[in-house]
Amino acid sequence: MLISYKWLQSYFDEKLPVPEALAERLTLGFAEVDGIEQKDGDAILDIKILPDRACYALSHRGVAGEVAALLGLEIKESDTRVPRASRKIRTVSVRVEDSNLCRRHIARVIENVSVGPSSDWLKERLESVGQRSINNIVDATNFVTLDMGQPLHAFDADKVKGKVVVRPGRTGEVLVTLDGKSISIDPSIMVIADEDGPLDIAGIKGGKKAELDQYTKTILLSVANFDPISIRRTSAKIGIKTDASKRFENNLTTERAKDGMDEIIALIVKLCPDAKIGKEIDIYPKKQKKRRIAVPIKFVQGALGMNISEKEMRSALSRLALTAKKRGTALMVAPPPERLDIVRPEDIVEEIGRIVGLERIPETMLPPISALPTVNKRLNLENKIRDMLVSDGFSEVMTSSFASSGYIAIEKPLASDKAYCRKDLWTNFHPVLLKNYSNAPLLGSKEIKQFEIGKVFTVKGEHTALIIGLMPVKKSVSEVVQKIEKMLGMPLCGKFCGGNNMYECNLDVVMKIHPLESPSFIKEGAGGGFIKTFKPFSSYPFIVRDVALFVPEKMDAERVQKIIEGETRGKDVVSIRLFDSFEKKLTDGSQKTSLAFRLVFQSMKKTLTDAEANAAMEAVYRVLRSRRCEIR
């Protein structure tokens, strides 16, 4: 919710900390401040009110209460003077059909208002938090909502015909909203209606029919409280979310509706001094019960793991306006009516914890355990297979769980090639194997050996699969498959995919039969204290060049490698690798050593040309010749 710093300051005599410091304090003790925007000499805080606290904190007053609690400040006493009702003001008849859905409704008629532009201060307040000024009366209702959290609505009383009733809608009824949208009403939608039909979608959006205009003289104020679930469902159904619906669906207290009415009539009289207030018609059949929660002092200390005194607990609670009385070894906590989020002792623990400061919670170690932890049997089996494959030179890859085809379809996929859950590993594994093979020179390898273990989704359900792949195609994985089968002492019952270079199997079948162990051990973290840092690589194509040479006596491969490295330094060579060497016997009985090196050229900045690679190779030849090497 957007909160104006200036507006917040109006709750305090004392100067608040600067916005950044205030935001930090709120983030650590209440809710994350997502951003601060400087706007016309004000600072607007975007506070991510947590869902459980939305019942009391979606307002400047709610946030001011948190500021007061966290900083130990006093909130100014309200200077609102509730005006008295005048005599001989028109009355309306209001009826509520279902008091479970409309839990309270307060109505009041105000005569002799004049609708017009708002005062500057009111405009400024609303505009600071991104609201458009409409007219003085509508602005006043919006102001009260943003100020103290109670949604309210003003109808033009002259446009309301006969009795007002809060009731389920009727099939066939249509309501045109204030912003001109036609909404088809049905019995699941609660409306506020007059004799002719719906005036308002209850708790969500006002209708055009009884909209205020410049001629409005008499208004009907409606301040209500609605069942949160019903509001949420209707709001989702008609696709309209408003400041009112957002608050109602988070379960506002019925108790504060009266405060809302008091605030709005006081404000309207301030804006229209000639206004005459009618009698209050308050329909409130089921009063909200007072709650008291018993919290043992030891429970709070135990749950926080902190030696915190009863005095500190009571002080934290009183800062939040939660009254606490001692009874035996427990505190009896009475939350104010709007704190519907507080229902059990754990909630009190949270409140005390965040007010005394979560940073004060110490770091305690767990008690030692008598037995060693066990490793999950399936994971253990997977790890055995992993270890064997890795020791055989295979790399583990992970590919997407989604695919362009399969048996299990996603309702709203991210992309058409991710519209299904993969039916096997092969679908995504195969292209990755090919791509890696095309990069083999970069990886300094002639072949690619990789495997994947992951869940796949078939008509029969999901299972864990293993796939092993080798490139080039002519290679076979059957040897390593046999090795795994020997280790497990059972067949894998999988199948080769295409050639013999790929093999996929269902590990769940293995796990069902295999006598799984769940070993107890603690494996020390791999790497032994050293953390490898990722090295970025180029996304441009690479060029491969080979050089073969006879070396003079006493020159070994290492020396040649050094010479080539020295020559090509700074010339976009990413790999120099000896890939062949042999001795050649000459007719005169002496020996010659032939070496072959593979150079891979690749730039981080551009696509290299053949000419660039050739030029670099020429330089290599030159320097090798100068060292009496014979280029073959």
């Binding site: 770091e363 990886l443 490898k532 840092t533």
Partner: protein
């Protein structure tokens, strides 16, 4: 929830969005065998979120869930445990942990866990004391037991640990990444 992947099926199945359901599953399984707390588990698993992908967001990634249930479990032990984990994982004893208030339906109190490392504050995951509802759901007396639970993204931890710039690199099977480690 908006970011849930729903399966086209009559049962209205979903791809799980977090590893927390494992808490209940594990406790049910243990209780069925007559094994009462203490429980201490660590559960890695793949999760799915329907959101646009970029260098720091993936629609499929890994989380790790931790659960400890015993008679006297505290927020202090939670803090100590995640701190120990971070310090070991990053091989750095100067790491600190900071809690911020949060909300999760299955913990109370709930906190966000931040790690303070090399002068930076990094949001790592969510945690809290196991909500009494969770115990009630599996048939454990909420009055008798307490627990803590935490969950965090493994990918993000690895990205920080190894300086990997793009989360998508974990799932494209590129050996230019894999073979570095």
């Amino acid at each position: 929830m908006q970011d849930t992947f729903w399966i086209k099926s009559k049962e209205r199945l979903v791809l799980r969005t977090q590893t927390s359901p494992v808490q209940v599953r594990y406790m049910e399984e243990k209780l069925k065998k007559g094994i009462k707390p203490p429980y201490r588990i660590i559960v890695p698993g793949k999760v799915f979120r329907n959101e646009a992908t970029d260098a720091t967001h993936e629609a499929e990634f890994y989380q790790v869930e931790g659960l400890y249930v015993d008679k006297n479990v505290s927020m202090a032990q939670l803090k100590g445990t995640v701190l120990l984990f971070f310090r070991k994982f990053f091989h750095d004893d100067k790491i600190n942990v900071r809690f911020r208030p949060s909300f999760f339906p299955f913990t109370e109190p709930s906190v966000e866990v931040d790690m303070e490392w090399k002068g930076k504050r990094l949001e790592i995951g969510g945690a809290g004391l196991v909500h009494p509802h969770v115990f009630e759901a599996v048939g454990l007396l909420a009055k008798k037991y307490r627990g803590f639970a935490f969950g965090c993204g493994i990918d993000r931890l690895l990205m920080l640990r190894h300086g990997i710039p793009d989360i998508r690199m974990f799932y494209n099977g590129d050996l230019r990444v894999v073979s570095q480690f």
